[in-house]
């Protein structure tokens, strides 16, 4: 069942009643709020201010909006330079280009330099849709997660994205925040707990036999899957791993230990992302059956978000199938 203290939307399973929004709108809202309260906030952007929802900030605070043009490598260097002199830079563009194109500058000038630059990547996942493979970032979590000093946060909806941006401002470290364009249900509320480094249960059946854990908007699908699985007699827990790094290892171990089988969920490559992180933890602590819902070493393509999510097996149906399989392997 849905856990009361998560304060999720009261009509959570009535999708039509939920507001739908891209996670980038959470950035737009938060950056405006932050700018009003913190003079150090600067936005560095690469010719996509409207698409990443930085245009309101740009109009309101032109003196703190830094345009670099189509130059993502320079964006990372400039953001690092601004951080050096005490500013709080948010460098934001499509994740396919940052960290996709400027990973080395992020590694050297930001991560190794240990500067509190906030790298915000939008347009992640196949749900970017018609733009096709070039613009669908599917490897960004892996790219960023392997850098020492770098934190990685993958919010699940617009509200959590808003909280993540706020929380990142208070972290005196380099941090990557992964956002999306596709409009997905806003199923958390302002009261839903959010803390970097802490995983949250969203659902817990009385006797969980499979732990569903992952990050991003697919968690909403996981909740539907959990409800239907319970109807089939398979109890589950759903764990929100928004903080991919630092990962809440204890909570992962706990949820996995309670259930005896795990399904990882992400709109990202299977290699080295959220599921990869979970696999590392399980293998080192409590090896057990793990099924991974992710993109299986493939590039995206054009199509509607829904067509692509179905094609790549990123739906509640795929999550249920993975859960049945994991359940069968562990308890069958």
């Amino acid at each position: 069942m849905i856990l009361h203290d998560t304060h999720l939307h009261e009509d959570i399973f009535d999708t039509g009643k939920l507001e739908h929004a891209g996670l980038r709108d959470g950035f737009g809202a938060a950056i405006g709020e932050l700018a009003d309260s913190d003079e150090r906030v600067v936005v560095v952007c690469a010719d996509v201010s409207k698409s990443v929802r930085a245009d309101v900030f740009r109009k309101k605070h032109p003196e703190r909006y830094v345009e670099v043009g189509v130059a993502e490598q320079n964006m990372a260097g400039v953001a690092a330079g601004l951080a050096q002199v005490g500013m709080l830079p948010f460098m934001v563009t499509f994740a396919a280009f940052s960290p996709g194109r400027n990973r080395e500058q992020i590694r050297t000038a930001i991560a190794l330099s240990d500067l509190p630059v906030k790298v915000v990547g939008t347009h992640t996942g196949v749900s970017v849709g018609p733009d096709g493979a070039t613009h669908q970032a599917l490897d960004d979590i892996t790219l960023m997660r392997v850098m020492p000093n770098m934190q990685v946060v993958v919010p699940a909806d617009r509200e959590e994205a808003r909280k993540a941006i706020h929380a990142s401002a208070a972290v005196n470290k380099p941090i990557y925040i992964r956002l999306t364009r596709h409009e997905t249900p806003v199923f958390t509320t302002t009261d839903t707990p959010f803390e970097i480094g802490r995983a949250e249960y969203l659902w817990r059946s009385p006797q969980p036999r499979v732990a569903l854990m992952g990050a991003g908007p697919l968690l909403y699908e996981a909740l539907h899957a959990a409800r239907m699985l319970e109807g089939e007699g398979i109890g589950t827990s759903v764990l929100n791993l928004h903080s991919v790094k630092p990962m809440d290892i204890d909570r992962v171990k706990e949820a996995a230990g309670d259930a005896g089988a795990v399904v990882s969920i992400e709109e990202h490559q299977i290699l080295g992302g959220v599921g990869g992180t979970v696999a590392e933890i399980l293998a080192q602590n409590t090896p057990m059956p793990l099924e991974m819902v992710a993109v299986h070493d493939a590039f995206g393509q054009s199509g509607t978000a829904q067509e692509l999510l179905e094609h790549y097996g990123l739906t509640r149906g795929s999550i249920m199938e993975a859960a049945r399989k994991a359940h069968g392997r562990a308890h069958g």
Binding site: E63, V66, V68, N74
Partner: protein
């Protein structure tokens, strides 16, 4: 009429010799690294640390300090030597270069040694950070100046040009780039590997104030630095023609010394040649 007095310039030249001496010793001791580049830039680093920079070696985080960004991190021994002679840390520490646990990493890391400003090594990343620092200082009404030392090989990096465009678009007149134009890179002459000329005209086309100087003529170099302070709404680039290996006649201009260090026997010989050069300076 030069900005420097005769005494000033003599002091800089003598410090350049001290720095070269330290560079040869520390690289020989380290057993790996780059020799030619650091020797070629000793005059400019001496000018920076002993005349140009408004800095406090005992207070490396002083907010009003001028920022010196070294982009081509592989010549950092010359910076370490200049910093040690300027009083940032004891001269003995130079012998820890490239050793396990040392603050003097093979390529400079800002988190390990105060006063370095940036972490560098991967070529091309200096001007972009310098531009961000210059913009940030201006946002904070901080009148400190930013100096970015770049290699000529780095003019082949795309991000250098992104930063060049950015610095002029944002009218960063508090930024001065200094290019070590020694015409060599690791596998040979720059104009053979990937030509970068006409370099000055390229910067001018990007709306920079561009000047060319002899990188071993400290009066000329410091004059160019001072003149840049009077240029408004545009960044300045000083293209400094230098001789790699300068100070040790035997290796001057020889690109094979770009990426290697002397043996102990070679070091003894080089230090003697350097001492000869010093006598010529002091006699002049």
């Amino acid at each position: 009429m030069s900005y420097l007095t005769e005494a000033d310039s003599m002091h800089i030249k003598l410090m350049a010799h001290e720095i070269r001496h330290s560079v040869i010793e520390m690289l020989t001791h380290a057993g790996s690294g780059h020799l030619a580049g650091p020797l070629g830039m000793a005059d400019i680093f001496a000018a920076m640390y002993f005349s140009v920079l408004n800095h406090r070696p005992q207070e490396p985080d002083w907010e009003s300090r001028d920022r010196l960004i070294l982009s081509n991190g592989h010549i950092v021994p010359v910076r370490y030597a200049a910093m040690a002679h300027a009083g940032y840390f004891p001269l003995e520490e130079l012998n820890t270069l490239r050793r396990f646990g040392s603050r003097l990493q093979g390529h400079p890391e800002r988190t390990r040694l105060p006063g370095l400003e940036t972490t560098s090594g991967p070529l091309g990343d200096g001007l972009t950070q310098a531009a961000g620092i210059a913009l940030g200082l201006r946002m904070n009404d901080n009148s400190a100046r930013v100096y970015a030392i770049l290699s000529d090989g780095e003019q082949q990096c795309g991000v250098t040009w992104e930063a060049m465009m950015f610095a002029s678009a944002h009218k960063l007149s508090n930024l001065t780039a200094i290019i070590d134009r020694n015409e060599i890179q690791i596998t040979g002459p720059t104009e053979k590997i990937m030509p970068i000329e006409p370099l000055r005209e390229k910067y001018e086309a990007f709306n920079w104030n561009a000047v060319t100087v002899d990188g071993h003529d400290v009066e000329m170099f410091v004059d160019a630095i001072e003149q840049a302070k009077n240029v408004h709404e545009r960044p300045t680039v000083i293209i400094a023609n230098t001789i790699p290996g300068k100070g040790v006649p035997e290796i001057e201009g020889d690109h094979r010394w770009h990426g290697r260090v002397p043996t102990k026997e070679e070091a003894v010989k080089f230090l003697m040649q350097l001492a000869q050069e010093r006598k010529i300076v002091t006699a002049a």
